[in-house]
């Protein structure tokens, strides 16, 4: 039943995606899930629930911090996560790592000759 065009997340990339999402400012779990889905045009299939173990993990490592806050527009509390200084640094590391990996894979898959 799964759509052939949809991809499962590569192990470990969810962390990076969360950190990247939070760079735009604090967000709660649902917003993060929606953002990832939207920005990848629904290609990346994230089971919403799997976000939460990842959030816990990142919070424990001190890269993000979570706090229950009142939403501005609505009269409801959400648990907002924000990037910490350590998380910001971590994201840069992850990004450069990912870039190198992507380049390397691209070079194997589509060698310059074929380009």
């Amino acid at each position: 039943m799964a759509n052939e065009d949809k991809l499962d997340l590569v192990q470990g990339t969810l962390d990076m995606l969360i950190l990247r999402t939070l760079r735009f400012g604090p967000a709660h779990g649902h917003q993060i899930a929606k953002h990832i889905q939207r920005t990848t045009d629904d290609v990346l299939q994230v089971e919403h629930g799997s976000l939460y173990p990842a959030l816990q993990r990142l919070a424990r490592k001190g890269w993000i911090s979570g706090k229950w806050e009142l939403a501005k527009d609505r009269n409801r509390e959400f648990k907002y996560y924000r990037l910490t200084a350590a998380g910001r640094k971590r994201l840069t590391v992850e990004e450069s790592k990912w870039k190198r990996l992507a380049t390397a894979i691209a070079q194997v898959m589509w060698p310059a000759a074929e380009n």
Binding site: A33, E47, G49, R57
Partner: protein, 859 residues
């Protein structure tokens, strides 16, 4: 749990947001809710994943497992109690005996700074070598080592003795010590008064001062605070009490004891001056290392000094060992068999206990498969389940371990009371580390197989509840193996116990070759002139009821600790070293008559004989003359003294129980002799009541000299006293055997009962097809007898190995076991088979009595 609530709230909030978004997108309320759930995934499993990621997850699940385990165990309390008791028996016994062995064997007998404590243990060989290796040093040796050493800060010498206080009947252990003894043993301050001063050990006989142990001070003097400065009499010498040594000080005496300067030895050891005769060895030496030195360095240095001292006697060779003062180091392998033997037996008990527990848990494991199957199908991980099941056996073992810790403590206390209280047997960290290891191992051994067994589940079969007797072959094999192992282990233990009990009965039943019941032995002080002893002998002879009297030098019989070397005897013409070693006894003319030792050939000794006349034992005659008639033949004693054989006496059995003594030479005692260091003995054969005669003799001698108050004893009571030590040992081994057979019976019964209940359906079918009760019983017994027979076979091989070890271990003791006697083996095997059959019979009978219809329904 706050964290869980937080997560719960977050998830709810997420689902609400998603639902409301879906509503906005135009879905119906129900649809919106379901879509949100679908997008989220399995809430339960997400929560579990979050929990798993927590660092405290391990502890949390452990607590869960423990709680679950406790609940499961409480549901089957009888099983839990049975398992705990069985394990406690195995572990507790093991740890208790280990703590005793640890205390006796591996601990130096000092409490303060054992790292620098050293004990000098020389091995001396050569013609002039002293016989007693426990007290290998003379006063001049001590002084030579003390002045010569640079690796040791100090050396202390000591020797134990006994002396009655103020002529009363109790004779506490008395220690003759150098004045720095307490410094070496780590005592700075006495409880009261002062310790010895250096100058009190300067001149022999100059300082009659004594230190009392707190235990003695409390028990004998009611803790009198005015005790310091009073005098007590030890033998004939008055000693001033200068101090009280605190309770439980480990200086070679625990409990009631006294210490005096070693320079006062003449007053205690019957006037023998061991300071002027400076080559008599009687001391043991301990010391303390300099902080920067090692035992190896000290050994090298002291060996050098020993070599220099060896030059005084041609052929003397001393090999010096510097040890940590523990018994294991002291024995240097001589009795090393003993530890492994005892621990081996205990390990067998532990293994027996573990196999029993395994079987008990195994039967439950099978009953539990359905539960496990449900858990597995609901998505529980196998590793997680395994941990859960193992936690249960860990709980059981921990409870057993706690009981065992208590058992180890009380067992060691019991042994401390049973034996001379010189050892500190209190369990230390070594014991508890051992206990913990054993407990953990036991938990794994007992728990692993059942846990694996519960996990071996065929999901669909189990859930349908159709897991029956089919396919039980492999598992049945496991059980047969356990039964066989139990039988084998029990056989080894029981044979050991049987041999001990057999040896024990021979001690009391066997004729030692001389009269023991009607012979009194009266130890005499050696400080009186020889004529006094003659007068005592004459007076005793004229007493009513006394039939024969003789004087002898060393207390005869039971003196030797087995394997006595003795003096070398040669035939004329034989070179030195090629003769026969024989123990020598100096006896009076009436000796053979008094003890009723038959003279087989020739005649007994007479007081009028020339000093060279001797009587020899059968064993000596055989060893020297090989069957030729030795009567009237000459032989050479030590220092080439010519001797002539006047008669041959029958062999006796006195040195080792149940074994004929080695070659023995009886020579006439020097009538002027007052006895050796320990004094002589008067022996008399009497008619009538022993107690009355003992009292009459005591009064008679006390009347002749007010200072003498000897304690006469029959030879029989001395024999029994020595035998009782071994009876204690035998009882210990026997109780191990009884425990082994108990465990085996419980185990075999358990297995059979379980197998029968598993096979109920099959039995029902057989009965429905017309099998008789007898057939059923026979089938059940037959299925159980095979592992028992195999166990017996394997067990007899193990037993052979064990018996060889046992004989080796006992070689250095006065106790001998008759390993060649087939009665013991046959009896043990028969007992074991009988007991095993008995254990199987109950379940077999139950199977035969079963109603076929209900048996068929049983599944």
């Amino acid at each position: 749990m706050n964290q869980d609530d937080d997560l719960q709230r977050e998830i709810r909030s997420h689902l609400e947001s998603e639902t409301s978004e879906n509503l906005d997108a135009g879905m119906g309320p129900r649809e919106a809710h379901l879509a949100a759930r679908h997008a989220f995934g399995n809430v339960g499993s997400i929560r579990e994943r979050v929990r798993e990621a927590r660092p405290t997850y391990w502890i949390e699940t452990f607590i869960h497992d423990v709680r679950y385990g406790l609940r499961a165990l409480l549901r089957t309390p009888v099983l839990a109690i049975a398992v705990i008791l069985t394990l406690s028996l195995g572990i507790g016994l093991n740890a208790g005996i280990f703590s005793v062995l640890n205390g006796v064997m591996f601990r130096p007998r000092v409490q303060s700074d054992p790292a620098t404590f050293v004990h000098l243990a020389p091995e001396v060989s050569g013609p002039e070598a002293p016989r007693d290796s426990s007290f290998p040093f003379s006063v001049s040796d001590y002084q030579a080592y003390l002045t010569g050493t640079h690796t040791l800060t100090t050396l202390a010498a000591w020797a134990p003795a006994h002396a009655p206080i103020d002529h009363s009947a109790d004779t506490p252990i008395l220690m003759l010590v150098t004045c720095n003894f307490f410094a070496v043993y780590g005592l700075d301050q006495p409880k009261m008064g002062r310790l010895f001063r250096e100058e009190e050990c300067a001149t022999p006989g100059s300082a009659p001062v004594v230190l009392l142990s707190e235990e003695l001070w409390r028990s004998k003097y009611a803790g009198d605070p005015q005790m310091i400065g009073t005098t007590i009499k030890l033998r004939r010498q008055a000693f001033t009490v200068i101090g009280i040594i605190p309770d439980r000080f480990p200086g070679r005496v625990r409990g009631p004891g006294i210490w005096i300067p070693y320079t006062m030895e003449a007053a205690i050891l019957n006037g023998n001056d061991l300071f002027s005769k400076s080559d008599i060895v009687w001391l043991t030496i301990d010391g303390r290392l300099r902080p920067d030195q090692t035992r190896a360095a000290a050994q090298t240095e002291l060996s050098g000094i020993a070599r220099q001292r060896d030059r005084r006697w041609p052929g003397l060779k001393t090999t010096m060992f510097v040890t940590d003062g523990s018994m294991a180091a002291e024995l240097r392998g001589k009795l090393w068999f003993f530890g492994p033997l005892v621990m081996g037996a205990l390990t067998l008990i532990l293994l027996l206990a573990c196999t029993n527990v395994t079987m008990l848990l195994l039967s439950r494991a099978v009953a539990r498969r359905q539960e496990i199957a449900v858990r597995l199908s609901l998505g529980a991980g196998r590793g997680r389940l395994m941990r859960m099941l193992l936690t249960e056996s860990l709980i059981l073992a921990s409870v057993a371990g706690a009981i065992s810790a208590w058992a180890a403590y009380s067992l060691s206390q019991y042994f401390e009371r049973q034996f001379e209280p010189v050892w500190n047997l209190k369990p230390d960290w070594v014991v508890f580390a051992y206990l913990a290891t054993v407990t953990l191992l036991a938990a794994c051994m007992a728990g692993l197989t059942p846990s694996i067994e519960s996990m071996r589940v065929d999901l669909s079969e189990s859930l349908k509840g159709e897991e029956g007797s089919a396919g039980a072959g492999r598992r049945g094999g496991m059980r047969s193996f356990l039964v066989g192992a139990q039988v084998a282990m029990s056989l080894v233990l029981l044979t050991g116990a049987g041999l001990f009990v057999h040896a024990q009965t021979t001690i009391f039943s066997e004729d030692p070759g001389f009269e023991t019941k009607q012979v009194l032995l009266v130890p005499l002080d050696a400080t009186k002139p020889a004529s006094f002893y003659q007068r005592v002998a004459d007076e005793v002879r004229s007493m009513p009821g006394v039939q024969a009297v003789t004087l002898g030098d060393p207390p005869p019989m039971f003196g030797a600790e087995g394997g006595v070397v003795g003096d070398e005897l040669r035939l004329p013409g034989q070179g030195k070293g090629s003769g026969v070693r024989a123990s020598t006894m100096a006896v009076g003319g009436n000796f053979f008559d008094t003890l009723r030792i038959p003279i087989l050939h020739g005649r007994a000794l007479r007081d009028s004989d020339a000093p060279g006349s001797v009587v020899i034992s059968q064993a000596l005659a055989a060893a020297l003359w090989h069957g030729r008639d030795p009567l009237g033949q000459r032989l050479l004693g030590p220092n080439d003294v010519p001797l002539e054989v006047a008669g041959i006496a029958r062999d006796t059995k006195s040195d080792r129980f149940g074994e004929i003594d080695g070659p023995r030479l009886y020579r006439l005692r020097d009538p002027q002799s007052r006895g050796g260091v320990l004094g002589g003995v008067l022996m008399l054969r009497f008619a009538g009541d022993a107690v009355a005669t003992e009292k009459a003799i005591r009064n008679l001698i006390h009347g002749m000299d007010r200072e003498l108050l000897p304690v006469p004893r029959t030879l029989e009571s001395m024999r029994e006293e020595i035998a009782s030590v071994f009876w204690r040992l035998a009882r210990m081994v026997l109780s191990l055997g009884v425990i082994a057979i108990l465990l085996a019976v419980i185990g075999i019964y358990g297995v059979m009962a379980f197998m029968v209940s598993r096979r109920m359906r099959e039995i029902g079918i057989r009965m429905a097809l017309g099998a008789t009760k007898a057939t059923i019983i026979r089938t059940v017994l037959a299925s159980g007898i095979r592992p028992i027979l195999i166990g017996l076979g394997v067990g007899s091989v193990l037993t052979a190995v064990g018996v060889i070890g046992l004989v080796q271990a006992l070689r250095e003791t006065p106790m001998a076991v008759d390993a060649a006697d087939p009665i013991v083996y046959l009896a043990v095997a028969a007992l074991l088979v009988g007991v095993a059959l008995g254990a199987m019979f109950g379940p077999a009978l139950r199977a035969a009595r079963a109603d076929p219809v209900s048996a068929l329904r049983h599944s």
